[in-house]
Subunit: 497 residues, 2 copies
């Protein structure tokens, strides 16, 4: 790992901001430059997820360079959906390590709150697979299906996962209440959590990160400072959720983490605290497992025991996380790094200061876990010197996962692999909307809309039918099975004759 | 300069393509991987300018990684408006030079032709300054104003520049007629050029690059191959045209070229041929001057003498350029590099093969010259060994240019710095639409809409007035001047009293 150091950071307050996108980014950037005691840099990297549709402007790298008085400086925009802020950091690391530049300014931001609550999810849905979108699935619906699968695989009851999710929300809102930059500054109670409306079973409103404006900035350098980038790792995954090797964990997080740990030459147990991508509360649980902090299925127990609390042995999201600090999609990945630096430098409010700030991790999820990043930072005065164990062989990507053939025609029978009931569906769909990922008789996976709510259970046998707009599933009753068998028999005869 | 080599290239035919964006990019990528004899890579960089608005999908890096069977491989999208393809190449160079990756796949593409001819310019206009957009200026209008200023500064007559522009169009269409991947495969005559409709005085339809679908791909490696990246340079400039240090040249090209030449340790005279960004025919002339091939104002003469023809001493755009090969905005910068590689390897049709293919340059313009790239490639067997003259000091950006204060209130008098008459204005504007950049009495620059066409001349004194929707200018007749003086006098008295 080449020597890459952080020499300046900046971040705006997150929330509903009146300033336009450029002003937000400029504010964070000026803070970071002032912090680095620099007036200019050799290059600029800009992370915004979708300025074209959120604010109606393009050419963002030039716009920001101009706005910062840096016209002339090379500037490039990078984007990886909701992990864009982390992609900016990793691109900046390569720029420094390449020797092309000695000091680079990284900025990331997003402006979202001025749009209607119908328009924002529509823009965010562009991150998803077309077929999964077409049947009415949006981010929360797919996150809910992951949650249902997670509790099934780890034999956790619905009421138990709800208690765990509530604990994550309560912890992150409490942390956010201590963070002056957070969008939500009020702690929440368990009663308030349960009173919040169901979005997509089992996710409630308090399980979902809010819509947020905000920006963050970092100055990287090759010269020694107090904070060093110890390791970086990134991985993609298949776009459609239904085709992935696991519906209850994120392979992209695991691969990214493995690469980052190897580059840093450390083990997960050495990490003192972490900022993880809790776009949905169960994602924080799954992330802490994918990152190797806890065994698969044990992340929830750790929350209940207070392990991940501010005063626990491994604080998770001391900033409040995406849940309470807010989630301006393009900014989040970089904001996590800024928070880590503030913690490492002891620049946060005393009640929010973690105890072991010398080695930390930031984890960012792009799309629905399709483009994830792990970044490991360390204080330069950390006692144990790092051992470089970087092995290019081990950094090679795994063999790409099997991608099944797309379904052709009707596959009459299948089994529910996971499901949800969407209570806040997109335009054109009526709540409650049952959705499921169904494995058909040939082993192919389809996403389908359901009829009726009573038969929703993982493992349940269902019939699948392709109608206009996608697949539908309905319960495989004895009568229905018999009727279809007879129908098939006649169809087969008709064809042969 | 670290050792960065090209080991594989691929490109789709350009034009109106039936395949969706993902299929186009996948086709170019598979060609490049096959050419490189590789099945996988360490990382993927994806250049698309605006897939969100052109084709309605986001999360493009993941989408393309998945589509190529590379899910798991790190993938990042980069964007710099219409120079996106070049930004991908430069980002890939840093990725190899950093040592993070040994082989990276770069892909770039755009799908545009399925949208209406009204919608495409609206999306492209998002690259421009808001105020310049607001008064009805689009890319061609601003390019036309640059052309008017160019001929004024170099004392070229309107009829002379038109002959030169015709020559550029004819040359590039001829080159394109020999290129099986080009969008336009028919040579054009001078008569056809003059018969094409006026878009924005003095630009005709045949001066403007078309709307195109297409994709290109390159595999970079740190291991020695037949083609080496010798130098790269990038520079931004102020977003508003009116505020730039020159209205008749591109500072961003000059800075980018200087950096690339220094990195490569060569002089412009050593370049054997070049692919330059002829989004508008006069841009090719200006580029060849900004790149140091010809003295300022002498680029047109070089075209007339056949210097830049296929069989001339310095062929420019042997591919047909953006003009004839086509301009899928995100793809173009990388397609230029693929063309250079085909030429260097002797893989083009014999009639299109340039004579000195050992050292070449690709030049890409982002937005209206706000984010420009220069890339120098050389054949590894080139006789003269390169001398590394890279000096980090000289690579520092120039001091950012002066950015004037925005206009406050009305500045009654000014002088036309440049102008155009738009014959194909955007929705809500009536042709012919006179536009001008006017310098007011305090030296501030405004873009303004005009009344009447007779008084349009650089250097003409005009009155400026702010009305709803921006500034307007109109001729400063003696009568009007007297009337305004009297009016001002009374206003002044009124205020004092």
């Amino acid at each position: 790992m080449p020597s890459i150091y952080i020499t300046g950071v900046g971040m705006t307050p997150f929330g509903k901001r009146r300033e336009p996108l450029g002003a937000l980014i400029a504010r964070a950037a000026r803070q970071a430059l002032r912090d680095a005691k620099l007036e200019t840099v050799d290059a600029l990297f800009v992370g915004v997820m979708n300025p074209e549709e959120f604010v109606g402007t393009g050419n963002t790298a030039s716009v920001i360079a101009d706005r910062l008085g840096l016209a002339g400086v090379p500037a490039i925009r990078v984007e990886t959906a909701s992990s864009t802020g982390a992609a900016v950091l990793h691109t900046g690391c390569a720029a420094i390590a390449s020797g092309f530049y000695r000091r680079v300014l990284l900025v990331a931001g997003e402006k979202m709150t001025h749009l209607t609550t119908a328009r924002v999810p529509r823009i965010l849905a562009e991150m998803l697979d077309r077929e999964e979108r077409a049947c009415g699935a949006r981010m929360p619906a797919l996150a809910a299906m992951i949650t249902e699968r997670y509790i099934r695989e780890h034999r956790i009851s619905l009421s138990h996962i709800q208690r765990i999710m509530a604990q994550v929300a309560i912890k992150n809102h409490y942390n956010g209440s201590l963070n002056p930059l957070a969008q939500f500054r009020q702690p929440i109670t368990e009663a308030e959590y349960y009173a919040s409306k169901l979005v997509s079973v089992p996710l409630r409103l308090y399980d979902c990160a809010p819509i947020t404006d905000g920006a963050a900035a970092v100055v990287l350098t090759g010269e020694v400072t107090d904070i060093r980038i110890a390791g970086i790792g990134q991985s993609t995954d298949l776009l459609p959720l239904r085709l992935r090797s696991s519906l209850a964990a994120f392979r992209a997080t695991r691969l990214a983490a493995r690469r980052a740990y190897e580059m840093a030459g450390i083990h997960p147990e050495e990490i003192g605290f972490a900022e993880v991508h809790d776009a949905f509360t169960p994602f924080e649980i799954i992330a802490t497992e994918d990152l190797g902090f806890f065994e698969p299925g044990k992340g929830g127990r750790a929350v209940e025991k207070g392990v991940t609390a501010l005063d626990g042995p491994l604080p998770i999201n001391p900033s409040g996380g995406l849940k309470a600090r807010g989630h301006p999609v393009g900014a989040t990945g970089l904001a996590q790094v800024v928070e880590v630096v503030y913690q490492m430098r002891g620049q946060v409010e005393p009640r929010r200061q973690v105890r072991s700030p010398a080695l930390a991790l930031a984890h960012s999820v792009g799309g629905l876990g399709t483009n994830n990043f792990v970044t490991i930072l360390e204080r330069a005065d950390r006692a144990r010197p790092l051992i470089a164990v970087r092995s290019p062989e081990r950094l090679q990507p795994e063999r790409p996962p099997h991608r099944p053939r797309p379904i052709q025609g009707v596959a009459p029978e299948g089994v529910i692999e996971t499901f949800t009931i969407v209570h806040v569906p997109p335009e054109g769909f009526t709540p409650p909307l049952p959705l499921a990922i169904v494995r058909d008789a040939r082993g192919e996976m389809v996403i389908a809309r359901g009829e009726g709510l009573r038969y929703l259970k993982i493992g349940r046998r269902v019939f699948i039918e392709r109608r206009e707009g996608g697949f539908w599933f309905f319960p495989a009753t004895v009568f229905e099975m018999a009727r279809r068998r007879v129908q098939q028999l006649f169809r087969g005869r008709g064809r042969r004759g």
